[in-house]
Symmetry: C2
Subunit: 260 residues, 2 copies
């Protein structure tokens, strides 16, 4: 039995009852990966397989025939914590052979909001009340101000605000920790590519999370047909596919080649 | 010629190339309002009319026949500023008779992000360098820290951050300022309704923006069939419709009754 896991779409972190922070990703590259897996599997007449498709609700899906659909385990997720939980459960329950982690995941979750003037007042009062104030004291206030809005209130619109965020657990680092020989594909999106920045960032991602392959690309290169980037295996460029379908095929073919 | 304007969906404020803040709204109540207008217009055999439908890209739409579609001017918007610009242009170009402003609009636009420790350090250094520090000095730093991330960089994931926001221009206040006798319907969504809070908030909205009618509702009451709330005309409750279709009909019937 072959198990393939693919993550798709962008996470959503709730701010209050009416606002959220969205990581933008259509999920289309992930769907192309799913189709590339199905096409590989049909070509090689593999019969025992399951694709675990961990997706945000807005991630695109396309039509599947009944035979294909019977092999796909859709897992719906919302925020980063829910992705973390889903991946942890899956990795512990199933021997995943290939993990394509293409989802755009928020690095931050919302912690609080506070009016700028209230936060300034709180820091000012702290200085006034204490002869000595350290950087640590100030950072403690910024991390959890007493003057923050109450958690169950809708944020008022009349004052300028700042919002505080906490870092979220790193989903990608879980995968190889739980199963060392899963073939892990990570994705690195950079905004610019000055001085070979993209390859350096991809290497950083690989080394930190023990990825086998990384697909690195620039934000300016995101489009279905023109989408370009570089596929790295163990840090070495192995393909420069152009177009989402071609990128998905390059990734999936590399993964199957390496697990066989 | 009758002109009706309806706003629909939620705005999106960009944070960086990969993140945005979304105001959650499906736009379905607005679409029900559009359908209620069409139904009123057919019933009363009104022939000269245009519906200006200002919508976020994700706001739901439904099928229209060709005759109906020929009377609808769709205007696509994204962030609060784009809604402001669209409404300002429309109100100056067209004599709008009824304006149903149901869109969920962000009160804030993203200004900057900064690592918590960098912001704390900046405030601390300012204190160390100046014998006297005022609340105003601190607020100035919080409003525009020197240590903020550069605007064209993707926000780093390795440090805890705060984000600063600016207030956005109030779209609703524009409408009656430009044309005093447009019949304006505002919407007030509150999270709780303690101590008649909802009606008070609705009155505040009406008085600040010169609304003719306000539909007030609680976040916990948002659903297609069970959606409940109160329709106020000049501050007085005139209907307690339940269900989005019924709410839309109550609003549209009130508006046409008052402009005739």
């Amino acid at each position: 039995m072959i198990h393939i896991a693919i993550t798709a779409g962008g996470t959503e972190e709730t701010i209050d009852g009416v606002r959220k922070i969205t990581n933008m990703s259509s999920g289309s590259l992930s769907w192309f990966c799913l189709e590339a897996v199905l096409s590989y599997i049909e070509k090689h007449k593999i019969e025992a397989y399951t694709i675990h498709y961990i997706k945000a609700s807005r991630a695109v899906t396309n039509e599947l025939n009944a035979e294909q659909a019977s092999h796909i385990n859709f897992i719906e997720v919302t925020n980063t914590q829910s992705v973390y939980n889903a991946v942890e459960t899956l990795m512990n329950e199933v021997d995943v052979d290939i993990f394509i982690h293409a989802m755009a995941i928020s690095d931050f979750s919302y912690a609080y909001s506070v009016a700028k003037s209230d936060l300034a007042e709180e820091i000012y009062q702290h200085i006034a009340a204490n002869k000595k104030i350290s950087k640590k004291d100030i950072e403690a206030i910024i991390t959890n101000p007493k003057s923050k809005h109450s958690a169950d209130a809708k944020i008022s619109s009349s004052q300028e605000i700042v919002m505080g965020f906490e870092t979220t657990p790193k989903v990608i680092s879980l995968i190889k920790k739980i199963k060392h020989n899963t073939f892990l594909v990570g994705f690195k999106l950079v905004k610019h590519n000055k001085d070979n920045h993209m390859i350096k960032q991809a290497e950083k991602l690989r080394l930190a999370n023990n990825c086998d392959a990384v697909f690195a690309n620039k934000a300016s290169q995101l489009s279905v047909k023109g989408h370009a980037g570089v596929l790295l295996y163990k840090g070495e460029p192995v393909a420069h596919p152009i177009g989402k379908k071609e990128i998905a095929e390059a990734i999936v073919n590399l993964a199957f080649q390496k697990i066989n």
